[in-house]
Symmetry: C2
Amino acid sequence: MTHTEKGNNISNATIARMPGYLRYLRDAKSAGRDYLSSSTIAKDMAISSVLVRKDLALVSSAPGRPRYGFEVAGLIRDIEKFLGYDNLSAAVVVGAGGLGKAFLGYEGFQNYGLNIIAAFDIRRTEESVRGKPVYPMELLPSFIRENNIKLGIITVPKASAQAVCNALVQSGIRGIWNFANTQLSVPSSVVVKNVDLAASLALLSGELAGLLQQEK
Amino acid sequence: MTHTEKGNNISNATIARMPGYLRYLRDAKSAGRDYLSSSTIAKDMAISSVLVRKDLALVSSAPGRPRYGFEVAGLIRDIEKFLGYDNLSAAVVVGAGGLGKAFLGYEGFQNYGLNIIAAFDIRRTEESVRGKPVYPMELLPSFIRENNIKLGIITVPKASAQAVCNALVQSGIRGIWNFANTQLSVPSSVVVKNVDLAASLALLSGELAGLLQQEK
DNA sequence: ATACAATCGATAAAAAAATATCGAATGTAG
DNA sequence: CTACATTCGATATTTTTTTATCGATTGTAT
């Protein structure tokens, strides 16, 4: 569960904020900002400046300069390195339904170190999506082994998710990004990250309900 | 920020776990389980039983019975009510690209109280997706007003997200589920929930990097 | 009828995360 | 050159979240 070779113990909350910093800093950089103070970042991102300094100190050794703040380029580099985005990792998506195809066609993941190179599906309705191949499931194990893929994305329906997961694991996948609404069981050598869109929706609908309620 | 009319102060962490409970309980119910103990739920969901009891106590007044546990049906009902899923809310998605179309075609959101009834896009490449209409952007304001839509989903590219957001807000939308990787500015009367897929990916890639590192 | 095991619910403790405070550093303006 | 405002970085405090503990309840088996 440690994140770097140094055995640093960085909280999930901090890790989860990192893409936000990265996005913000990249935007700022392309807008011509070379230095940014923690208070500026904090104001723009609506968090506290102390938290910003603490988070950044955990992933970057670049010191902030009084009166100037932090060097944007250095922060970007360090965050990318921390998140492992410097070595783009190839991934496959299993399940070429709506969500799977959306992922296959979305170039934005490249900014986050993810390079989806192929999709697999039982019912192969297309040969490719935006130039990326869709293969039948039978080819999954050999493809993963031959290309040394470490990361798989599951976008199949709940009913077949565990079977797909097993196939991935047996082929040597080490990380799974699971969009099926189900709990997967995997050996401890494999990391699973569940994305629960419903959880996000819950937060929204909860706040919205509270808001509409107040007005009555 | 309160969630119910009673002014209960329920943490985001708890709210975010609710869809997980709901999913689990629905599965259990359809598998014929009528009663479940907190320890059983805890084991299956890989959290602590105390946390389960605490979470459930916050949203449900149904008492657990010693030796039996909790009545599944009652919990489901209370959680759905808490999350506002009992009154299905209509929503529109703006941006009929890959992700937008995926949402439009995905019936699963109905289980979570979300009924997507139409999509809007500048470039209208299809007339409908799985029977749901895709309209040109010009019709957005009138459609929202006439159908009294309260919730909008943004799946357009970053560059046009704020403009879409403004259009939604001016038409009377009160909640926005934002999948564009950008910070939206809205009046305080509108709730925004950002879904940052990259943040989820960060957690996975971070853990994966740590794991692969250890083995070297 | 009685002992027992499973379970809840409440309170206490611990752990984790966020925020506040303050001295030190450093460039800028007068 | 000196006063000053800004900012960092470290430490302390507060708040939030999770986990531990334990008495009370209740159905079941003997």
